[in-house]
């Protein structure tokens, strides 16, 4: 499908916040910002929801621990029980460390994968990359984008001046309409 929208470049986080407000006032809902470092105050404005990652990580940890302990117990007490140092076949205390470490391992892997998925990484191409000057989004420029459907996009094309004017008055160095596959 095609992603369409309008994107504007600012010099400071504060201008960015102002611009976001402008876009919301204009009635564009689907917003996102692109910044060199997190600008936390925009997150509520563009409606970033609380990350679900912690729940996944908890699940991963528990799973890892259970799995590891079961394997240990099954090997030592079920599959081939042998007398070792006169210890019980099911030597619970000795099985804890591995269970603990595995819990952390699985939890961490879950966390990492979750970030990649939720942050929509591993996407080397994104329409916003087409925007000229966007490479400074990771250095010292602050971008805000509004994603719109075809009809709205056509409207914006028709009368760009209105919205562009607003954004520029908010300090935009550059305002671009963009469209590209995603």
């Amino acid at each position: 499908m095609i992603t369409r929208g309008i994107i504007a470049e600012y010099g400071t986080p504060e201008e960015l916040v102002a611009a976001v407000r402008e876009l919301r006032a204009y009635g564009l809902g689907d917003l996102d910002t692109f910044t060199p470092y997190p600008v936390r105050e925009v997150e509520p404005l563009i409606g970033v929801r609380r990350s679900p990652i912690p729940r996944w990580v908890l699940a991963g940890g528990l799973l890892g621990a259970a799995l590891a302990y079961l394997i240990e117990w099954w090997c030592a007490a079920v599959s081939y029980p042998v007398i070792v140092g006169g210890r019980p076949y099911h030597s619970a205390p000795a099985f804890v460390p591995i269970a603990f470490e595995t819990a952390i391992l699985v939890a961490s892997l879950t966390a990492f994968v979750a970030v990649i998925v939720y942050a929509r990484l591993l996407r080397l191409y994104d329409p916003v990359f087409e925007t000229p000057g966007f490479e400074r989004a990771s250095v010292d420029r602050f971008w805000v984008a509004a994603f719109v459907d075809a009809t709205v996009f056509r409207e914006l094309e028709a009368d760009a001046a209105g919205l562009r004017g607003k954004l520029e008055s908010a300090g935009a160095m550059r305002v671009v309409l963009f469209a590209g596959p995603s």
Partner: protein, 470 residues
């Protein structure tokens, strides 16, 4: 540059530097200051790389020789079944603890000074753990069967023996390596994007682009990234503490006088962080000079790390004292012999006293303010502590083993040439990897610093002011 630091260090006229970031550069300036060096390697770089590379080749040769001929080429014997191999393992894994400690625990504690050095420390951690991981594998009589420590369904129908601390060790160390790597990489992604976007040539942009995983710095990405990073920090914290605890159990679960001790886990962890910080200092002091990092690595950092050395150094010293006291208090003749006779007066007494001097006396320097921020003093101290922590492991392992229960089986240990070349080899290999790290990775977290810069700015003046300024 000395001027800069010493002016802060030399007490009276100006107070000790408390800022973690000097001057007030623009985001762009800061970024380029920290990133552009990637495109202009120093003149010394190839030479150093060649040197350490040769050392690494030496390591490879020693490894192959050991593998093909047998552990007999080491100095080990019965009773000293483990020796330099495990000494080096514990030493390296210990060093590997500062990284995650700095990035994770200090992150949770919201220590600002952590920011500019954390990736540096994480890099060190990774490469140290790589060195460490080499030894448990090598010291096996039949390394080619290492996978028997992993519970896989074999046609023999037999399984690993999980009551031993060694399988714990395998899991702990590999987990530690993996998690450290994830943590390191997750933090690195935004900066890789920075490099991608500032690289001069297209191909460089592409290469870094791939590793940046298409990071766009979108608000949502930042949000999830922040949460994920926080969680990893939270997971890494108990991990750091557990890994060296488990390493310590390789000894603590045994019966051997000098090993059989309940104090080991905390003692080992403290020692690990102690040596870790020492190694961070050893590496960062020269790097700071070479790469002109005075702006981001300030006297404040030195001051804090010196204090860490003092704290951990005291924990270690305390542990020594407790060990000896308990040995005496227990009345157990074997324990007493190890701690009251063999170590202080036995054949390895010299190493024992070196250990005490290095580990207990050195950190006392840092009672003095100016020493805490004096590069020269810090550097020497760090080296001494590295040495001290190595001797500690030697004393711990070799003295205990060489004289245990039955005097009839007492026998001393002398390292062979291969033993030593393996140690030197890992040192070179470590440096080799670290050089590559410095060469190709943004080892000062740019994005985090810019964030920090803004945070500090906001602390200083209200946001409104900035708006007005525009």
């Amino acid at each position: 540059m000395t001027a800069l630091v010493s002016s802060h260090a030399s007490g009276e006229e100006t107070p000790v530097e408390t800022r973690v970031l000097l001057g007030n550069p623009t985001d762009g300036a800061l970024t380029h200051e920290l990133v552009d060096r990637l495109w202009s390697p120093g003149r010394a770089f190839p030479a150093l790389l060649a040197l350490t590379g040769t050392g690494s080749v030496g390591l490879f040769v020693a490894v192959v020789y050991t593998m093909t001929t047998g552990i007999g080429v080491w100095g080990n014997n019965i009773p000293v079944g483990w020796a330099l191999g495990i000494v080096n393992f514990v030493w390296w894994i210990g060093i590997g603890h500062a990284g995650t400690f700095i990035s994770a625990i200090l992150y949770l504690l919201e220590q600002k000074w952590r920011t500019s050095i954390n990736r540096f420390a994480e890099g060190m951690t990774l490469f140290a753990v790589v060195q460490a991981g080499l030894f448990p594998l090598l010291h096996l009589g039949r390394p080619w069967f290492f996978y028997w420590l992993v519970p896989y369904p074999s046609t023999m129908g037999v399984w690993p023996q999980f009551r031993s601390a060694l399988p714990w060790d395998v899991v702990a160390v590999s987990t530690y390596l993996t998690v450290s790597l994830l943590f390191f990489y997750l933090g690195l992604i935004p900066d890789l994007a920075v490099v991608r976007d500032t690289a001069p040539e297209r191909w460089r942009q592409r290469v870094y682009g791939v590793f940046a995983l298409g990071w766009r710095g979108s608000a949502r990405a930042w949000h999830h990234h922040r949460i994920g990073y926080l969680l990893l920090a939270g997971l890494a914290t108990p991990l750091v503490l557990s890994v060296h605890s488990i390493v310590s159990m390789d000894f603590a679960i045994s019966q051997l006088p000098g090993w059989h001790s309940t104090i080991f886990p905390p003692f080992f962890v403290a020692g690990a962080i102690y040596s870790g910080f020492a190694m961070v200092l050893t590496l960062i002091i020269p790097s700071r000079r070479i790469f002109h990092l005075e702006r981001v690595v300030t006297a404040k950092h030195f001051d804090s790390m010196a204090k860490m050395l003092m704290v951990t150094g005291w924990i270690v010293t305390y542990s020594y004292a407790v060990e000896i006291f308990i040995a005496w208090y227990s009345g157990d003749p074997y324990e007493r012999y190890v701690h009251l006779v063999n170590r202080p007066t036995g054949p390895y007494a010299f190493i024992f006293w070196t250990m005490l001097a290095c580990n207990c006396l050195t950190p006392q320097l840092f009672w003095v303010k100016r020493f805490r921020t004096n590069e020269a003093v810090l550097f020497v101290a760090a080296i001494l502590i590295n040495v001290g922590m190595w001797t500690e492991r030697f004393i711990l392992i070799v003295t205990s083993e060489s004289r245990d229960f039955l005097p009839s089986s007492w026998h001393l240990y002398r390292p062979s040439l291969i033993d030593l070349s393996l140690f030197v080899g890992t040192l070179s290999f470590f440096s080799f990897l670290f050089l590559l790290f410095l060469r190709f990775v943004p080892f000062i977290p740019v994005s985090e610093l810019k964030d920090l810069k803004r945070e500090i700015a906001n602390e200083n003046e209200p946001i409104g002011a900035t708006e007005a300024a525009l």
